[in-house]
Point group: C2
Chain length 200, copies 2
DNA sequence: AGAACTTACGAACACTCTGTATGAAAGTTA
DNA sequence: TAACTTTCATACAGAGTGTTCGTAAGTTCT
């Protein structure tokens, strides 16, 4: 009986997971351009051969890392939003903003999702992938708010974009502030006020 | 008498201008990472030696390009804003937003100032340079609005950040839309509404 | 179980690109 | 015009990406 016998699917999953995890910490801490593929595979305890077998290129790995980070954050926000539920969509939006700000303050998170992603993936590709995550969430909440009669019936897409822009920049602002708590309070005041302004 | 005798200051100004101009078109059209220094100096009709004499490195050239683009846009917006003047600061803010959206729709402009700049310069450096341009403009307008009694006396810095974030993302949204006129109208509706929400 | 086949990986190579070093040319100062 | 500084051209070294090719591990078929 061989000890280390693993199925191909298991091997693939293991190396991909190791590479994505290594990429996440390294890209997050140093930025995409400053991290060489060699350091990634060293961290992941594999070789460059494995990387280029599992991913098309360095960008391909980065895309996988980005998806994973977005997945994590979106899931966390979604559960928070779900607790408030459909009863008060705009309240849920405020709560979701708070969670987003907390998570996106993590340097690794904002370096990957907000700073590097647009440049590495290209803006349209970045946004296309974002549709799947944060965008779907916000647009859903806005639709619910319309259904609940909290805001007027109007195109949600431009609102979602403006909201995402405001949230992203807010996260970066907080992340760069010395007194993060104070900065968080400041921008949340502004964001809440804007959200309220849409109320019928 | 030598025909091409130029002073050192003239030589420096000429090659720097040529390099910045070449970088502006090439970075704008293809993105920072996709443009090699060789293609830049070829376009500028100088050699790599001149580039590395005039600028510390590729990032240094990019920073100069970024500054020039910001300078141009900010100047244009400032004149628009000045026409409306201090009589109606919030009106001026709306007008400035329109000009910004028009100019930032230019692919080269948004590629440089919104997509590449944060990743290449780093977010904090990006924002530090932005202080000088768009930020100063918006904060000035907000201060004027407070002085004119249009909005409540409050910290303008977080508002400026949220506003910049909303504007930047709006510009990218418009730039990516097929029907730019319609997209512009959509986001301006949202932006105007938000601006109005701050009115006392 | 063993042979034929596919998938995953390791090591070495080729190529591109950035930044530097060194020397020449142009301009400045005395 | 001679000494000096600035600007630029060329050649070189080093780092890093992506590819190629061979080997090992796993799968399928009989």
């Amino acid at each position: 009986m061989k000890v280390n016998r693993r199925t191909q699917a298991e091997r693939t999953a293991a190396t991909r997971a190791a590479l994505v995890a290594a990429g996440r910490t390294l890209f997050g801490n140093h930025g995409y351009a400053a991290v060489g593929t060699q350091s990634i595979v060293t961290e992941a305890d594999v070789t460059r051969g494995a990387l280029y077998h599992q991913f098309k290129d360095k960008q391909g790995l980065f895309a996988a890392v980005y998806d994973q980070v977005e997945q994590d954050i979106t899931a966390e926000i979604a559960t928070q939003v779900a607790e408030i539920g459909a009863s008060d969509p705009l309240g849920a939006l405020k709560a979701g903003s708070r969670v987003f700000l907390e998570r996106a303050t993590d340097p690794a998170v904002h370096q990957i999702t907000l700073v590097d992603a647009p440049a590495v993936l290209g803006w349209s590709e970045w946004r296309a992938r974002g549709e799947e995550f944060g965008f779907a969430l916000i647009e859903g909440i806005l639709q619910a708010a319309i259904a609940a009669g909290q805001i007027a019936d109007q195109p949600v897409r431009p609102i979602a974009h403006v909201a995402i822009g405001a949230l992203d920049e807010s996260a970066l602002y907080v992340a760069a502030a010395e007194d993060k708590a104070a900065a968080t309070a400041e921008v949340l005041t502004v964001l809440d006020r804007i959200i309220d302004s849409f109320t019928i």
